[in-house]
Amino acid sequence: MDGKRKLLIIEDDPQMRWFLESCLAEQGWQTQAAGTARAGLALARGFQPDLVILDLGLPDMEGLDVIACLRRRSGRPIVILSARNRESDITSALDGGADDYLAKPFHTSELLARIRAVLRRSAAAGEPVDGVFQAGDLRVETGSRRVFVGEREIRLTPIEYQLLTILARYAGRVVTHRQLLAEIWGGAHIDQIHYVRVYMGHLRHKLEADPARPFYILTEAGVGYRLREGG
């Protein structure tokens, strides 16, 4: 086993497969690729990748089913590629177990950033995230439960703080409304998505210089939110 991390690509378009493989190999990944869901799942069993890039529009199986199969075997992170860009498809995939998504066409830099963010989380999986989160001027000290923007300390309500820390835990990755709703309010309120929006609005007003043009907490329209990564 060499030190290289392993990446599995499941994408039916051969050009796209070639492009992804070459791109990522350059970044130091050891890659394998499959053109169909079944071939991909078989490869996953043998290859045991550290990350899977999955196209949602595979010919032989529904994206959600592939995600479910992959999830059943291990907790490896999954990044989905979507050509259809219907936000309901993307939200279902994320709520169904995918970790992040990329809409086609995408920039390679975006792809790499997503992969990085997804792996960072997975590396710390299971451990309480303690310490400090920093992105730009935003600083969250989880030990003392204090939040700063630049020199100014920001007073947050418990819910606002929870929102921010969840986003920070997934920094760089998208978190769906449903995920936030479930983590903070629990399953009973699963249809009251507007709760999340209302509190997110309050949080933005406290953190952002211009809440209508947010810098830290980015909106993924119809899907969820993404906290800008530090560094």
Binding site: S88, T219, G222
Partner: protein, 524 residues
């Protein structure tokens, strides 16, 4: 023939639709009373003149009386009157007076002749009377058909024809009725839609199936009170009319049966006419859609081939002479390829979106979202392009929740922003304003460009419309059409106009329901 004077007596007995009255005879008892009264009156009338008139001539007076009874009251009473007359004459006038015997033969002959005349007259008048009645009924039927025909001529749609047919059938035959049509598979279905005063509810479908199969009427007395009649068109049986007539026996009379058949025939014709009119309308809509599709295809073809030409050309060049190429030139080619590809991607997305919105299958995915979030994510998506612009954002209350399809409204916003950027000089400001009032959301996007040419404020929202035709960069011209489709899908509208001080402003107005209650502050 609105009879103001009718020798046949007072008009009476109106038909249910309140037209043409039938001449009716007075009640039977009354007629016999007349039959009794007439001879008595004649007796009294002639009595003062008995000395100066010969008995035979008195008979003529009696004859007048009998004649009057025959005309007014019909055969029975007139025969009764005749015999009474005979008795009265014999008793009061024919010698020997005050006895029923008649001694003179001329009086006997006169009496006999009078009786014959009375009977013949009453028969004749009876015939004339019934002929008049028949003629009146025929006239009534003809005018019922005329009225039905006239109403049907005005009907344009199938449901109108059915309604008119039902109403007239009820009017003429006095029965509740309904039309049962077969569905696509030939199975009879109860009609949908609200019932009318003349509708028959709960008709049995089994006899309907029988009629559809055999093509002959079913029902009436053996099975039940309802008649099931086939509605025959030029190409077969269109449906079955279930009718519960007020008087079943009357319906089977030959004249009535013929009338019913003619009614149904007229209705069937009108129904076929309405159906083929609808088919023609659909065909012309199809043709229009086809035409639009063709122009769309040719537009797409043009707008995608140009960037494709650039991509194929540039990459070909790169492949050929990559090693010897000047690095700046190489970079420029590559950038051009990327830009053209992105442009194509954008165009295709717009075309697909427009097609999706128009197909009617675009179900709105509405969510409660904050105003500033919607505006913010659109601005975020255009971050790069907006860098050289001054943005004036005025949100009434950014935290206000609004109920809309986030992805679609984002798209509309992006189209409006792109439009503003395209039609105003770089560096000029773009203004976005949002007003939220109870039940209404208003979004304004305004620029400081040349504005909209007067008269074109509506046309710019047409598909494929471009203010400057054939501009290479202008794209397919769908951006604003998509905005309009999105606004309308939300039950709202979009308007364009010019601002004070120059520039165009686009105003989107969307109706809004009551915002939901704010979450419980359980964790505060």
């Amino acid at each position: 023939m609105a009879a103001s004077f009718s020798p046949f007596g007072a008009p009476g007995g109106r038909t249910p639709d309140g037209t043409h009255p039938l001449p009716a005879r007075p009640a039977r008892l009354l007629t016999y009373a007349w039959g009794l009264a007439a001879p008595l009156a004649c007796t009294l009338l002639a009595w003062p003149f008995r000395a100066s008139i010969r008995p035979t001539h008195t008979l003529l007076v009696y004859l007048l009386g009998v004649y009057f009874v025959a005309i007014r009251c019909g055969r029975g009473p007139s025969i009764f009157a005749s015999f009474l007359t005979a008795a009265a004459f014999a008793f009061f006038y024919a010698p020997p007076i005050f006895s029923l015997a008649i001694s003179e033969s001329e009086n006997l002959v006169g009496l006999a002749v009078m009786l014959v005349v009375a009977v013949v007259t009453s028969n004749l008048t009876e015939n004339v009377r019934s002929q008049a009645r028949i003629a009146a009924q025929r006239e009534r039927r003809a005018s019922a058909l005329y009225r039905l025909s006239k109403s049907l001529a005005g009907a344009r749609r199938e449901d109108e024809v059915v309604m008119i047919g039902g109403r007239h059938l009820y009017g003429e035959f006095g029965g509740l009725n309904t039309l049962i049509l077969p569905d696509r598979h030939g199975r009879p279905r109860h009609p949908g839609g609200p019932p009318s005063p003349h509708s028959l509810r709960g008709a049995d479908l089994a006899p309907v199936r029988e009629v559809l199969g055999r093509g002959r009427p079913v029902g009436a007395v053996p099975g039940g009170p309802v008649l099931y009649l086939p509605l025959r068109g030029s190409e077969g049986i269109l449906g079955v009319w279930a009718l519960e007539p007020a008087d079943v026996r009357r319906v089977w009379l030959p004249e009535q049966k013929r009338l019913l058949d003619t009614f149904l025939h007229l209705i069937a014709q009108a129904l076929e006419r309405a159906r083929s009119a609808e088919r023609a309308k659909l065909a012309s809509i199809e043709m229009e859609a086809e035409r639009l599709r063709n122009s769309l295809l040719s537009s797409i073809s043009h707008d995608l081939r140009t960037p494709l030409a650039m991509i194929v050309g540039a990459t070909g060049k790169l492949e050929e002479g990559l090693d010897a190429m000047d690095p700046d030139y190489r970079r420029r080619l590559i950038r051009a390829v990327r830009e053209e590809a992105l442009r194509m991607s954008d165009q295709t997305a717009k075309i697909l979106e427009m097609a999706r919105l128009e197909s009617g299958k675009a179900a709105l995915n509405r969510q409660w979202t904050a105003v500033e979030e919607i505006i913010g994510s659109a601005l975020q998506a255009r971050e790069g392009a907006l860098r050289d612009r001054r943005l004036e954002v005025d949100l009434d209350d950014g935290l206000q929740l609004v109920y809309l399809d986030v992805a679609l409204i984002q798209q509309a916003m992006l189209n409006l922003l792109d439009n503003a950027m395209k039609y105003s000089p770089p560096g000029s400001p773009i203004a976005i304003a949002v007003q939220v009032s109870p039940q209404r959301l208003g979004i304004d996007v305004a620029d400081r460009g040349p504005g909209i040419p007067p008269g074109l404020e509506q046309k710019i929202f047409d598909k494929f419309f471009q203010v400057q035709a054939e501009r290479a960069q202008s794209g397919v011209g769908l951006g604003l059409a998509i905005c309009k489709a999105i606004a309308e899908a939300h039950g709202g509208a979009i308007h364009a106009g010019n601002r004070d001080g120059g520039g165009a402003v686009f105003h989107v107005a969307l109706p809004m329901p009551e915002p939901p209650p704010v979450p419980p502050p359980a964790d505060e």
